[in-house]
C-alpha cells in the first residue's frame, strides 16, 4: 500500500506526549473506547461449544465460517471512530446466518498485547453486514499497530445450544497527524480517515478531490454529519464500504487526473475539525487519489 506522506512534526508538541501505539501495545489495548468488557486473558481461539461444552474438534458436517469483506488497511487521525466491517463466508462464499442464529459477540485486541475485549457487534438491516465500532482516543500518538478480531455465533443446532468463535482476522492501522487546511494529501488502496484543521475564520471551504484511471470514493463529515460524497450521502452510523447489500458500493469516481471541487460553509463555532473518508478502489491496489481542503475564504 502507498501510505500518505507523514506531515512534519507539530512544532508545539513535544514528541513524548500521550501514548505510543508502537511501543505500548498493552496500554493501547486498554484505552480503546467502545462498549465492551475487558478480560485479562488471551483472545479465544476458534472453537465450537455445544451446550457450553467445548468440542475437541469440529464436526465434519459443521460449516466452518470465516470473516471476509474486511478493511485491511486504515490510515486515521486520533480521536476518530474506526469501524471494522466484515461478512461471514463459508468456503469463500458469502454465508447468511439461518433463522435462530446471530452474531452474539465480537472479540477484539491490539496485536501483540495482553488481554482482549468482548464487544457487541452491530448488524445492518439486511443481516449480512456486520461491524465493530471502536474509537482510537485523541491522545494516541502517531504510529502503526494492528487490530485482531473475531466473531462469536450463537444459536440452536440440532436442539443443542451452539457457540462458534471464528478465527481472528487483522486490520492494519496507521495513526497520522491532523492536516492543516491548504495541504494536499495522497492515498491509495484501502480506507483513509483523516482530519483537517480549519482554524478560527468562518467562510466557504473548497474541497478538491482527484482520482486517476481507477475509481475511488470520498465522503466528508462535518460536525458528526455526512455533508459531501462522491456517491450517495451516508446516513448517521453508516460508513463507506466496498460491498453493500446491493453489491459493490457506488460512488467510486474516475476524474482522469482533474480535480473535482465541492464547497460547503464552515463555522468554527459549530466545529473546527473536518473528517474525510477516502476509500481507495476495492479491486485494484494500483489506485491513487489526492485531496486538498482549502482554508475558509
Amino acid at each position: 500500500m502507498f501510505w500518505a506522506c507523514k506531515k512534519s512534526e507539530d512544532l508545539t508538541s513535544p514528541t513524548i506526549l500521550g501514548l505510543d501505539p508502537t511501543n505500548n501495545k498493552d496500554g493501547l489495548n486498554k484505552v480503546l473506547q467502545m462498549e465492551g468488557h475487558f478480560y485479562d486473558e488471551e483472545i479465544p481461539k476458534r472453537r465450537l461449544a455445544l451446550d457450553s461444552v467445548i468440542q475437541d474438534s469440529l464436526d465434519k458436517n459443521f460449516p466452518v465460517l470465516t470473516l471476509g469483506g474486511l478493511q485491511r488497511f486504515v490510515e486515521l487521525a486520533e480521536g476518530v471512530s474506526l469501524f471494522l466491517p466484515f461478512q461471514l463466508f463459508q468456503n469463500g462464499l458469502p454465508f447468511i446466518l439461518p433463522s435462530g442464529f446471530k452474531i452474539c459477540n465480537g472479540y477484539l485486541k491490539v496485536n501483540s498485547s495482553s488481554g482482549h475485549w468482548k464487544v457487541p457487534v452491530k448488524v445492518d438491516a439486511n443481516g449480512k453486514d456486520f461491524f465493530i465500532d471502536v474509537i482510537i482516543p485523541k491522545f494516541v500518538r502517531e504510529g502503526k499497530f494492528s487490530l485482531n478480531y473475531s466473531a462469536e455465533i450463537c444459536g440452536k443446532f440440532q436442539g443443542r445450544s451452539f457457540n462458534f468463535i471464528t478465527d481472528t482476522t487483522t486490520t492494519n492501522i496507521d495513526v497520522l497527524p491532523k492536516i492543516p487546511c491548504g495541504d494536499t494529501i495522497t492515498g491509495s488502496y484501502g480506507l483513509t480517515i483523516r482530519k483537517y484543521l480549519l482554524g478560527d475564520k468562518k467562510g466557504k471551504v473548497k474541497v478538491s478531490f482527484r482520482t486517476h484511471e481507477i475509481g475511488d470514493r470520498f465522503d466528508l463529515k462535518y460536525n458528526n454529519k455526512y455533508l459531501l460524497s462522491t456517491g450517495t450521502i451516508l446516513s448517521e452510523g453508516r460508513y463507506p464500504r466496498c460491498i453493500t447489500p446491493n453489491g459493490p458500493s457506488q460512488g467510486f469516481i474516475i476524474t482522469n487526473n482533474t480535480f473535482k471541487d465541492y464547497f460547503f460553509d464552515y463555522d468554527p463555532k459549530i466545529s473546527k475539525e473536518l473528517t474525510f473518508y477516502a476509500l481507495g478502489s476495492c479491486n485494484d491496489a494500483r489506485t491513487s487519489w489526492d485531496i486538498t481542503i482549502s482554508c475558509p475564504n
Binding site: 512534526e9 507539530d10 512544532l11 508545539t12 508538541s13 513535544p14 514528541t15 513524548i16 506526549l17 500521550g18 501514548l19 505510543d20 511501543n23 505500548n24 498493552d26 496500554g27 486498554k30 484505552v31 473506547q33 462498549e35 465492551g36 468488557h37 475487558f38 478480560y39 485479562d40 480521536g79 459477540n105 488481554g115 468482548k118 464487544v119 457487541p120 482516543p137 485523541k138 491522545f139
Partner: protein, 295 residues
C-alpha cells in the same frame, strides 16, 4: 583566655613598717609620704605570687590599624545542604497538554489537573570570602561555587468518561515526567548570621523517566457482560534528545545560621527550559534545607 598582665603601680601604705623594713627595707625606696615604691622586679614577684604564672607582656599587633571581621567567618568555607523540595511547573506545556487530552466532545468529557511533585534537594558549595580583613561591609560578601542534586518535571492526571454508553466507563491516566539533575551554580552571598544569596545555575541532566499509569473500569448494572477493572503502567526514558541539558537558570536563597556551623536555608531555583522542542515548561523549585558549614 590568656593571662593578662597587670601593671600595678601602687603605693602600699606601711603597716608595721618596721617589721617589713627589717626584712627588706634595704631594697625599697620611699616617697615623700613614706610610702614604699616597689621596684619592677618586686611587681613581677607579686604577679607571680598572685597568679602562679609568669606574667606576659602585652603583645602589640604589627601593621596598620586593626579591622573587625564578622565573627566566626573564615576565608574558605564548605557549606553542605539537604532538605525536601517542591517542584512547581508552568508554561505553554501545561496548557498544551490540557488541550491535547481534552476531546472537545460532549460524549467524552475530560478533566485534566496538575498534581503535586515532591522530592529532595542536596548539595554543597565552596564559599570564599576574599574581603574578610579589608573592609567592614565587604567582609560580609562571599562567592560560592556549588553543586546540587534535584529533580524537576511535571505530573498531571487525566480522567475521561464515555457518555455514549448506558453505564459508567471511565479511563484515568496519570502522566509524570521526572528528571534528575546536577546543578552547577555560582552565587554571591551577603551576610553572616543572616544571609542572602543570588546567582546563576547551569543544570545538567543525569537521567529521566516518563511514567504513563492507566486505569480503566466499568460500573453499573448495564455494563456489557458485567463490570470490569484493569490497569497498566509503562515507562519511557527521557534523555538529552528530548530534555534540554545545560540550561541556564537562576537561584536564590535566604539563610540563617544558628551557630557558626549549623543553620537553615530556604532555596529557590527557576529554569524556563525543559523540553528541547515544542511547548515548554518553566520549573520553579523551592526547598527548605538544613545547612552545615565546615570551616
Amino acid at each position: 583566655m590568656g593571662l593578662q598582665k597587670l601593671r600595678i603601680l601602687f603605693l602600699i601604705p606601711l603597716i608595721g613598717m618596721s617589721s617589713f623594713k627589717s626584712k627588706c627595707c634595704n631594697s625599697f625606696k620611699f616617697d615623700s609620704n613614706s610610702n614604699v615604691i616597689l621596684p619592677d622586679e618586686t611587681l613581677d614577684f607579686i604577679d607571680l605570687t598572685n597568679t602562679g604564672n609568669k606574667p606576659k607582656r602585652k603583645q602589640q599587633r604589627r601593621g596598620g590599624k586593626k579591622s573587625k571581621s564578622p565573627e566566626g567567618v573564615k576565608m574558605l568555607n564548605l557549606d553542605l545542604f539537604i532538605g525536601p523540595s517542591m517542584n512547581l511547573a508552568s508554561g505553554n506545556f501545561v496548557e498544551f497538554q490540557k488541550e491535547y487530552y481534552e476531546t472537545g466532545s460532549t460524549l467524552f468529557p475530560t478533566e485534566v489537573k496538575t498534581t503535586d511533585f515532591y522530592w529532595v534537594n542536596a548539595g554543597g558549595q565552596l564559599r570564599v570570602n576574599p574581603f574578610l580583613e579589608s573592609n567592614p561591609i565587604l567582609s560580609y560578601l562571599g562567592f560560592a561555587f556549588g553543586l546540587n542534586y534535584f529533580q524537576r518535571g511535571y505530573a498531571s492526571e487525566f480522567v475521561m468518561q464515555n457518555l455514549s454508553l448506558k453505564y459508567l466507563d471511565q479511563t484515568s491516566i496519570k502522566e509524570s515526567y521526572r528528571t534528575n539533575y546536577i546543578g552547577s551554580s555560582l552565587m554571591i552571598r551577603f551576610g553572616n548570621r543572616l544571609y542572602a544569596e543570588a546567582g546563576a545555575s547551569l543544570d545538567w541532566l543525569l537521567f529521566g523517566k516518563k511514567t504513563f499509569e492507566l486505569s480503566r473500569f466499568s460500573f453499573g448494572e448495564e455494563s456489557y457482560d458485567g463490570e470490569f477493572s484493569t490497569g497498566q503502567t509503562s515507562t519511557e526514558n527521557l534523555d538529552s534528545k528530548i530534555i534540554k541539558s545545560g540550561g541556564l537558570g537562576w537561584c536564590f536563597s535566604l539563610g540563617f545560621n544558628f551557630t557558626d556551623y549549623v543553620g537553615i536555608r530556604a532555596f529557590a531555583n527557576t529554569n524556563s527550559t525543559f523540553f528541547k522542542e515544542g511547548a515548554n515548561l518553566t520549573n520553579q523549585q523551592f526547598s527548605l534545607q538544613a545547612a552545615v558549614t565546615i570551616k
